[in-house]
């Protein structure tokens, strides 16, 4: 068997595996996507909400109501509306807002940029500190270092992100005046300024990622260290560093990565509240504001985007997991 033939065969297998993981992740979400959008559509027609209430308020007459509903195409049969909307969604068009007639895709993109930069930084903080604390606790397991870290992680795990946010504002913005308490500045206006504005919200959002990743990683690593293959590697004369990185970390990282994958919806949900604390015009604020106004197309857009984001993130995590522990991809 030639080396080249072996190489391509392996590549092909890896590609096939990747494709199957991807297909499975997406296949699970397609029906949910359909159901969720269908239900929100159905609820809208049942609830009788319409842009007329937004625009005319209490003064709506039946005639003006009908006129506006006709303008928005809401007098068409339900299924026609749904299919029409769905077709547009597939091409990236989420319709226009009842509230101000703006293009929802554009509004959501603007908001998502803000939220994703905060969520991205939060994820980064979560991964760095979560892994740092988790690894430290696992390497110093059953010592006081381990107990202090574990205790601290348990404590911060019961702190809702808006509580952390308020505490951070009270300390770092109001009392110490180190960082701005609210607002958002695009990165084009200066990287430092941008970072200063997203740091506190990102820290607030990251707490629960840090604590969960740290605890799962510690548990995973401690369990991996108890495995016989560690003894096996030891008697083969491999050094402690190699054993940690190549054998323990690889097998113990799974739970932490799985949790990291589940974190993403949390970061999205957390964004709704942290953005309120820090007055950032992000995805979450947009969702909350649209909901309070009764702006149905905007809310539907929010749901579509969050499902898509969750799918993409899950996909990434599943691919990494499949790459790291091939056995798990085969359900072994």
């Amino acid at each position: 068997m030639s080396g080249a033939g072996l190489g391509t065969a392996r590549l092909r297998r890896a590609a096939a595996r990747t494709a199957s993981v991807a297909a499975r992740s997406i296949a699970i979400f397609v029906p949910v996507f359909l159901v969720a959008t269908f239900v929100t559509f159905a609820l809208r027609s049942l609830s009788g909400l319409s842009p007329a209430h937004l625009q005319l308020g209490e003064s709506a007459t039946p005639e003006s109501l009908a006129r506006i509903e006709h303008e928005w195409g809401l007098d068409r049969p339900f299924l026609t509306q749904y299919l029409d909307w769905f077709g547009k969604v597939l091409s990236g068009d989420l319709g226009t807002s009842w509230y101000n007639g703006a293009d929802i895709s554009r509004l959501l993109t603007e908001g998502a940029v803000i939220s994703l930069s905060v969520a991205g930084l939060a994820l980064l903080i979560g991964v760095v500190f979560g892994f740092g604390f988790g690894i430290l606790a696992a390497l110093r397991r059953t010592t006081w270092v381990d107990r202090v870290i574990t205790g601290a992680m348990t404590f911060i795990s019961v702190m809702p992100s808006f509580v952390v946010g308020i505490a951070l504002v009270a300390v770092f913005a109001v009392s110490l005046d180190w960082l701005p308490s609210a607002g958002w500045v695009p990165a084009e206006r200066g990287f430092g300024l941008w970072l200063a504005h997203i740091t506190l919200p990102a820290i607030a959002l990251s707490f629960d990622t840090v604590s969960d990743v740290a605890r799962q990683l510690r548990a995973g690593l401690v369990a991996a260290y108890r495995e016989n293959y560690v003894t096996g590697a030891l008697v083969r004369g491999l050094g402690p560093r190699r054993i940690f990185f190549r054998h323990v970390l690889r097998n113990g990282i799974g739970p932490a990565l799985t949790v990291l994958g589940l974190k993403f919806p949390n970061l999205l949900g957390g964004a709704v509240v942290t953005e309120a604390v820090f007055g950032m015009p992000g995805f979450g604020q947009f969702a909350a504001a649209s909901a309070q106004r009764g702006d149905v197309p905007a809310v539907q857009g929010v749901l579509v985007v969050s499902i898509v984001l969750v799918v993409v993130f899950n996909l990434l995590v599943n691919l990494i997991l499949a790459r790291l522990t091939p056995a798990s991809a085969r359900g072994v």
Binding site: P31, R44, P255, V273, L303
Partner: protein, 290 residues
């Protein structure tokens, strides 16, 4: 089981905190020293003999508002748990018996539901079903129901495939006896753990929503609402968020503590549930919701 639970220090602490909160919810309005809605000229006052915890920006008594807000939080938590229980348990049990297709569909659905950001969905639903806490909580209840689905499914599976139930049937035990003796002791602890966790989620979600001002009309007192108004006056009363924060955290913590205590006293039945990695991850996630 209750007796063994209360023998644990953590179990006692959790029980005391939750009992206090429940008492507040029942009697809160009666205990309030003043009308939680009545403003006064004495705005943003420091704690003193008249207002033990000071007043807010409209001169309303903070202590009275906190007490009055507890009812909404407890109700919200109850709505989430009851909804999740109802929606999750029945398909969970049926998934074992109704054949492959039903099993596959419900499993996939459960996996997906639990992966979605339920706070975003709760917020969205208030736009469609009307601005109210119950609507939001019922949505959250549906979205965390996979927890109960998994738990009841696992318990049903273990009972359906267990040899001791078979043995008991052969030995001529009555169905009622088997359910009481075997099924109940297996199913109850994991369900109780899931209930405690879900209640914790409920408290976080209620405070998050009320913090955003969703689901309540402005003068109504809520824990989250008090926090939100404190946020605007941090430079005058930087300590103000401490108490509502402490209340929220203590409740959530007590729920998690209770869940852990139940797991400790229930032995294997509880541990089996928590060995499901994905679920545990999402549970931990759900614990602080948001």
């Amino acid at each position: 089981m209750v007796r063994r639970l209360l023998a644990l220090t953590s179990g006692r602490i959790a029980a005391v905190i939750l009992a206090l909160i429940a008492l507040l919810a029942l009697l809160g309005p009666l205990l309030s020293p003043q009308d939680p809605l009545a403003g006064s000229a004495d705005i943003l006052a420091d704690p003193g003999p008249h207002h033990w915890l000071g007043t807010d920006y409209l001169g309303r008594d903070v202590l009275s508002r906190l007490l009055a807000g507890s009812r909404l939080s407890v109700l919200g938590a109850l709505q989430v748990t009851v909804m999740a229980l109802l929606v999750g348990v029945i398909p969970g049990i049926l998934s074992v018996y109704l054949g492959r297709a039903f099993e596959w569909v419900t499993l996939r659905l459960a996996d997906t539901l639990i992966a979605l950001p339920f706070l975003v969905f709760a917020v969205a639903v208030t736009a469609l079903l009307g601005n109210g806490i119950p609507q939001a909580m019922l949505t959250v209840g549906i979205m965390v129901s996979p927890l109960f689905f998994r738990v009841s499914r696992a318990a049903t599976l273990s009972v359906a495939r267990s040899q001791y139930v078979e043995a008991a049937i052969i030995a001529g035990a009555s169905v009622g006896w088997i359910v009481r003796r075997h099924v109940w002791t297996k199913v109850l602890p994991p369900i109780a753990i899931a209930l405690a966790h879900t209640a914790g989620v409920g408290f976080v979600v209620v405070s998050s929503l009320t913090f955003l001002g969703i689901g309540v009309r402005p003068p109504a007192p809520t824990w989250g609402g008090i926090l939100a108004s404190d946020l605007g006056f941090l430079s005058y009363r930087p300590w103000a968020p401490l108490l509502p924060t402490a209340l929220i955290m203590a409740t959530v913590w007590a729920c998690n503590l209770l869940a852990d205590a139940i797991r400790d006293v229930s032995g294997e039945a509880g541990r089996a549930l928590l060995d499901n990695r994905k679920l545990r991850g999402r549970l931990a996630v759900a614990g602080r919701g948001a």
